[in-house]
């Protein structure tokens, strides 16, 4: 996966570059908008990370310029601003994502994977999801594990569906809140954990191989093997 990182802060750029490379991305880093434009035109990228506060231009302006130049790869926007302006919301509608600083690296990686998957053509219109012996019938809104029907509430089903769609990948608490409940909040309490705990109680019955794993300090993952 080829990734273009546009970030002016040298500390952040360096640690992001090394972390991303460690994860398996081929990273090219640019400290400003001009360099980013040049790199984007020269090479093909699968995904972009763009910081909003660049020294020579606004991050959004850069993204719009790159889109005009024919760059179709999804963009993860990094922002140190506290309020999200309408233009970022617009880009979010268009399939890009944003993350406010400071962020957990796992959160960043999870969102990158999410963006890449969202842009891959397969898998989104399936009516059934299957992870190991867990099966979700999206039309009948019914989940079975090893042939046993699971008694899930509506909300638990949506949560499990989200975990299944991201099977094998870590999803963070804020991603769950964003995608399942549709809100970007950071509760001081363990509201998401209790939902996962309850869901796990239903999905991972006694004597079964546990599917939902907690990644400490990061989030959760539904094991796909």
């Amino acid at each position: 996966m080829r990734l273009l990182l546009v970030e002016d802060e040298i500390d952040i750029r360096n640690f992001l570059k090394s972390s991303l490379e460690e994860t398996g991305y081929q990273v090219q880093a640019a400290p400003d908008g001009k360099t980013a434009e040049r790199l984007a035109v020269e090479g093909e990228f699968d995904i972009l990370i763009v910081d909003l506060g660049l020294p020579d231009q606004d991050g959004i302006t850069l993204i719009l310029k790159l889109r005009q130049l024919g760059v179709k790869a999804p963009v993860l926007i990094l922002s140190a601003r506290r309020s999200v302006d309408d233009r970022v919301r617009g880009l979010e509608q268009g399939g890009d994502d944003y993350l406010t600083k400071p962020f957990a690296l796992a959160e960043l990686l999870a969102r990158l994977r999410n963006l890449l998957k969202r842009n891959s053509p397969a898998g989104n219109d399936a009516t059934r999801l299957r992870v190991q012996d867990l099966e979700l019938d999206l039309l009948r809104r019914e989940a079975t594990r090893g042939g046993q029907v699971l008694q899930l509430t509506q909300q638990e089903f949506v949560l499990l569906e989200y975990l299944c769609r991201n099977a094998g990948r870590v999803v963070t608490r804020s991603m769950i809140l964003d995608k399942v409940w549709g809100m970007r909040i950071q509760p001081d309490t363990n509201v998401v954990d209790v939902h996962i705990y309850r869901l796990r109680g239903k999905v991972d019955g006694a004597g079964q191989q546990p599917l939902i794993r907690t990644m400490r300090g990061v989030g959760y993952v539904l094991k796909d093997r």
Binding site: S19, A106, D188
Partner: protein
């Protein structure tokens, strides 16, 4: 214009101003007319008196010189009739044989001696006798059978008889009547015209003021780029508009400065925080021993709490300066509460809390949804952290007038009385609280940024109560108004 079109013109300031101005004008012109009328009336009186005095003298002279024989009546009568033709103020259409003038001579014994005029003269003589008429100046008498009084001049003859010449005031009154009528018509026209002109002028001017007011009221807490409309005229109203706009310029620039400061503060703190967090995470990935990982993980936790504190502090600071930036959209509060309660219910029941929503149906508000989400999450986090087990939380939602009322009531220990006084100020927390005390300050800040209020109190039955009032979205407020109005009837 939209919000004021329903208001009747009669309740506008323009109406009142023009009404008072017109009343003053009407009264003033009335006084002037009364003065002129008095002047004209006395002038007409004076002229007819002069004529009467002159004529009666002539008649007296003629009567004196005419021998008292059979021809006397004919000669004096002829002269009297001639005099009648020269009556002043007489309308052109009137013919000579009317009853406007009479000539009467009474003998020394008071009996009617000679009469020229309409009727037989007895009634006139009676009236004259009833009233003592002085020699030197004409006097009014009222004759039964005549609506209009007569002006009568008299002269005493040497033979003791008395000559009276009477002139009806009918013509004089007709002149005055026509004067009054013409004045009244003209007066009404002028007054109405004046009212119209004053009303239109003030209405035009005040409608500009109204547009300024409307524009100014729409320039909310965060929408500061709008300006009130100005005109090219160089009057007080346009000065008002210009002054308001200059004031808005200054407010906007200081608001912009505040945003720049908070933004750069946030940015300058966040970038190093991001770098620190990244480095900690990287070092965490190289640590395999669980024990060694512990301090790094707790450092990351502390860092996240610091970030959260930074965000909330800046939000509260901005909101206190009325500078929260809002991106508003219509939010269905009833739906949102259900989703939120759905999110929090498992944690609540895990802590032994029962949560119940009492809602009277959909309530739409125009808010920044991200801020509203965080506000409600703060409220629920607050309950979750402070309520002991086996307690109840009741969330109540309804609309009242043009406001949405959201109330959270619990049967827990309630607020510490000391804390209650400063609960929305920030940095205040109960002794057992582990938060940084910004939660409710943030709730208050968000509510105020949206033009709402928050009130915290302890219930009589025990427990805490937080009531939030937010303005309804426009299109709904009109529907809601209806039942409230009918209820009050």
């Amino acid at each position: 214009m939209s919000s004021k079109t329903g208001k009747p013109a009669m309740r506008s300031a323009a109406w009142r101003i023009s009404l008072w101005a017109t009343l003053a004008f009407a009264f003033g012109t009335m006084v002037v007319f009364a003065f002129l009328h008095g002047f004209v009336a006395s002038d007409i009186q004076r002229r007819s008196d002069a004529w009467l005095s002159g004529e009666v003298e002539v008649l007296g002279d003629v009567a004196e010189r005419t021998p008292k024989n059979a021809l006397y009546d004919a000669v004096v009568g002829e002269v009297a009739e001639l005099a009648e033709r020269e009556v002043p103020n007489k309308p052109a259409t009137a013919n000579g044989s009317d009853d406007a003038v009479f000539f009467l001579q009474s003998g020394g014994d008071g009996a009617l001696k000679l009469w020229v005029g309409a009727g037989n003269g007895e009634a006139h003589l009676q009236a004259i006798r009833a009233k003592n008429i002085p020699e030197d100046r004409p006097t009014d008498i009222t004759v039964p059978g005549f609506a209009v009084p007569f002006r009568v001049a008299s002269i005493r003859m040497d033979d003791g008889s008395q000559i009276y010449l009477g002139l009806s005031e009918r013509d004089e009154q007709r002149v005055l009547w026509s004067l009054r009528l013409r004045f009244l018509v003209l007066w009404l026209l002028i007054v109405l015209l004046g009212f119209g002109i004053v009303f239109l002028t003030t209405h035009r001017m005040l409608s500009h003021v109204r547009r300024i007011t409307e524009a100014a009221s729409q320039i909310g807490h965060s929408d500061l780029d709008a300006r009130v409309p100005t005109t090219k005229r160089n009057d007080e109203v346009s000065h008002l508009a210009l002054t308001l706009n200059r004031m808005l310029d200054r407010i906007e620039s200081s608001m912009h400065q505040l945003h720049t400061i908070t933004d750069s503060l946030a940015h300058d703190l966040r970038s190093p925080l991001t770098a620190i967090r990244g480095k900690l995470e990287m070092s965490l990935s190289t640590i395999t021993e669980n024990e060694q990982a512990e301090p790094v993980v707790s450092a990351i936790d502390e860092l996240d709490r610091l970030t959260d504190f930074l965000n909330k502090s800046l939000d509260v600071a901005e909101a206190k300066a009325d500078a929260l930036r809002l991106t508003r959209s219509v939010v269905e509060l009833d739906d949102l509460l259900r989703v939120m309660i759905d999110l929090y219910e498992p944690s609540m029941s895990e802590n032994g809390l029962r949560v119940r929503l009492q809602s009277r149906g959909p309530v739409s508000i125009l808010v920044d949804s991200a801020l509203l989400h965080r506000m409600i999450a703060n409220l629920l986090d607050n309950e979750l952290k402070h309520l002991p087990a086996n307690r109840n939380l009741t969330i109540e939602l309804h609309s009242e007038g043009s406001s949405a009322i959201l109330t959270l009531e619990d049967d827990g220990p309630g607020f510490d009385p000391e804390v209650l006084l400063h609960v929305f100020e920030g940095r205040v927390k109960g002794k057992t609280s582990d938060g940084h005390g910004l939660g409710l300050a943030f709730v208050d800040a968000v509510a105020r940024a949206h033009g709402g209020t928050v009130a915290a109190s302890n219930r009589k039955e025990g427990g805490a109560r937080i009531a939030i009032k937010l303005p309804l979205a426009m299109e709904q407020s009109s529907h809601i108004m209806v039942p409230v109005v009918s209820k009050s009837n």
